[in-house]
Amino acid sequence: MSERILSVLVEDKPGVLARVSSTISRRGFNINSLSVGPTNIEGRSKMTIVTELDAVEQVKKQLNKLVNVIKIVELDPNMTIETEVLLLKVSINKDSQTSVIEKASLSNATSVDVGQDFAIFELTGSSKELDKFEALMKPFGIIEMVRGGRIALQSNL
């Protein structure tokens, strides 16, 4: 199923995230990813919502009905810069240490914390790159992992 990315400009008011997520869940839409954060404009936040193609029109229309939703732009996948952040804690021991660090470094992941028997890596990239890195680390034993949700910007004006 092909994905669509919506960039949703909202008023930064209490409960706006609850309104958006409640609308999505009560209408039965499938959402692959949702992230939210401040913008350069005061009082405005931006949500990036990744949904499936078949739902996108209704998602847009239903979200547009929310009083606090100002503007929804569907990003053109061919002209979109998209990124996601990952923090991954993997277990290490004397035998695996070198291999883990080598694989992480080849994946462009940054080590942000290393202990006796674990290491934490940070990786920013496309969802596919993050998936790949997760698969690479899996054999060593992933202790904990968190992904930040996808964010995107259109690369033209």
């Binding site: 008023e11 409960g15 609850a18 409640s22 009905k65 929310l66």
Partner: protein
């Protein structure tokens, strides 16, 4: 000059007065108490309901009858949760409603305080928008915004939740200013290009149908609709929410389509080559299975809510806009065009004669609701506001009552809320004390909100209630008979408990009873004569009567069950 300092509670009442609110419905309680103090001294009339659900439906009835904002007030916790049903009902039927609820003190929120409920969260999916006030100075502006949101675009309910300490907080009265709603800009004027495309489709059509609903009534577009239909000779079907938008009895009026619609209305859509859908949402009670709905028709779909367009059925011509503007645009674009619909209109006219609504009232047999309704309408000289609950009686009223004016038919269409009739009739009668207001109810529905009869008596609101007493949840019984092998599980209520006459009397109303055909005229005339108190008529009717025509849920509108005989072929 220093600005006038008021408490939050005074700002609420002053704010409502500023918005020209003349009547509110409500029930007081702890958290909302501060607001009831200045309300006592205000010219605003407060109707004390016996339950917050009743208060909410009263406000809806007021709004549906007038087309104006209805206002309801309740306290925190259970007061607010009891309002959820009317809010959800108003959201489904696009009724402009303002609910003001008290909340526990802002310092106590989140601590499971006495009578605390997360009202904003609970009502989020049951309102068009809602607010939690955090400072008394916000109140006038938020009330103005709330009214604006409730009454414009696609109307709906808006809730404003106010903590008790904020109601006691002192702030200046500042006249509300311009609204700053960057995310709320309803489109009312249609795109001329789309209107032009629509008119081209209409010109080519040989079998058009105007499929219209509640949007016509909200937009007060009935005169424009009449001009469009009659000037270009286009037949009209009016949905449950659109009854009265086009006059019954007119040769172009096919009345209600759908699950219990009449044969001609439902079939006209199936046979049409073009649906001109205005202010409708292709509800499942109209379409049955959408894949079999109007398979030969192109669709022009005009609605003020863009999310309705393409939700159920793709439209060849989507038009976002207010019904009145859209229809005016269509009339202008069609100009002096003569449509070739003569054969189509006469085909449908013949169909109407061939497949009328039917019922059989025997002289000595049990009363049938359709017969009683037709007799009642004959005895009713003036145009009445008719209010129904949900179920068999609702369908029979919609089928058999002649509606000729908008805002004279109030019912719970989308949510299907039993218990709507009595409180909504109180709301309508409050708005129009001089009009005849009839609550035509079922016994199951009546028992859900019958305490509001006390409200009608004590507040001197002389409505007339006819309880069609079949001793059963009639529509449930009908489905059990058809789909559950006549296993009448939990659908029987009994005819004689309560004793409706004693119930009416004990609640300050007059109780009358009719059992057979010969009672009808006498009892209804007496009911119509009494105008100083509410009157309740216990109309005992046949429990085995069923509503036809019928298209089972999820079925095809090409297969209409016309009567009990047809059931054998199911």
């Amino acid at each position: 000059m220093t600005k006038e300092q008021l408490t939050g509670a005074e700002l609420v009442i002053r704010g409502l007065e500023y918005l020209n609110v003349s009547t509110v419905f409500g029930v007081p309680g702890g958290a909302i108490l501060p607001a009831y103090d200045p309300l006592y001294d205000s010219p605003i009339r407060h109707i004390l309901a016996r339950h917050e659900q009743g208060a909410g439906h009263m406000a809806e009835g007021y709004a549906q009858a007038t087309g104006e904002l209805g206002v309801v007030i309740a306290t925190s916790g259970p007061g607010a949760t009891n309002l959820i049903t009317p809010l959800a009902n108003a959201l489904m039927d696009s009724t402009p409603l303002l609910a003001i609820t008290g909340q526990v003190a802002s310092t106590a929120i989140g601590n499971d305080a006495f009578q605390e409920a997360y009202t904003v969260g609970l009502s989020m999916a049951a309102t068009k928008h809602n607010y939690l006030i955090t400072d008394a100075s916000e109140i006038p502006q938020v009330l103005k915004e709330a009214k604006f949101i409730a009454t414009t675009g696609r109307p709906g309910p808006v809730l404003v939740d106010i903590p008790k300490d904020i109601l006691n907080q002192v702030a200046a009265w500042v006249e509300p200013g311009d609204l700053d709603l960057p995310g709320y800009k309803p489109t009312t004027e249609p795109n001329p290009k789309m209107v032009h495309q629509a008119s081209s489709l209409i010109k080519k059509s040989k079998k058009p149908i105007l499929y219209v609903g509640g949007g016509i009534i909200h937009s007060k577009a009935n005169n424009e609709l009449f001009e469009l239909a009659t000037k270009f000779n286009i037949p009209v079907v009016t949905t449950l929410m659109g009854r009265g938008a086009f006059p019954d009895g007119h040769e172009l009026c096919l009345e209600m389509p759908g699950m219990h619609g009449n044969y001609t209305a439902t079939t006209s859509i199936q046979n049409a080559d073009l649906l001109i859908a205005i202010g409708v949402r292709f509800d499942d009670r109209v379409t049955a299975n959408p894949s079999f709905f109007a398979q030969n028709a192109k669709v022009i779909h005009a609605d003020i809510d863009p999310a309705e367009i393409g939700k159920v059925r793709d439209a060849q011509v989507p038009i976002v806009g207010d019904a009145k503007s859209v229809i005016k645009g269509l009339i202008e674009a069609l100009g002096d065009e003569k449509l070739d619909t003569k054969n189509w209109v006469s085909e449908l006219k013949e169909m109407k004669t061939e497949f009328p609504l039917s019922y059989k009232q025997e002289d000595k047999g049990p009363l049938k609701v359709p017969y009683v309704l037709e007799e009642l309408q004959k005895l009713t000289k003036e145009e009445a506001i008719v209010v129904a609950g949900v179920g068999q009686h609702q369908m029979w009223v919609s089928q058999h009552w002649n509606f000729t004016e908008p805002n004279t038919w109030l019912n719970s269409g989308g949510l299907g809320t039993m218990g709507y009739a009595l409180p909504a009739a109180i709301g309508a009668k409050t708005a129009y004390p001089d009009k005849l207001v009839l609550a035509l109810d079922g016994d199951g529905c009546f028992q859900m909100t019958c305490q509001e009869l006390i409200t009608a008596s004590t507040e001197n609101i002389p409505i007339k209630i006819v309880v069609f007493n079949n001793g059963n949840h009639g529509m449930v019984r009908q489905w059990q008979k058809i789909f559950y092998n006549s296993k009448f599980s939990a659908s029987e209520l009994t005819h004689d408990t309560p004793d409706y006459l004693k119930l009416a009397e004990s609640m300050g109303a007059v109780g009358l009873r009719m059992m057979e055909k010969s009672d009808i005229e006498k009892v209804f005339n007496k009911m119509l004569e009494i105008n100083d108190r509410p009157v309740l008529v216990d109309c005992v009717v046949d429990p085995d009567d069923m509503v036809f025509p019928m298209v089972p849920a999820g079925g095809s509108n090409d297969q209409i069950i016309m009567n009990e005989e047809d059931l054998k072929n199911l």
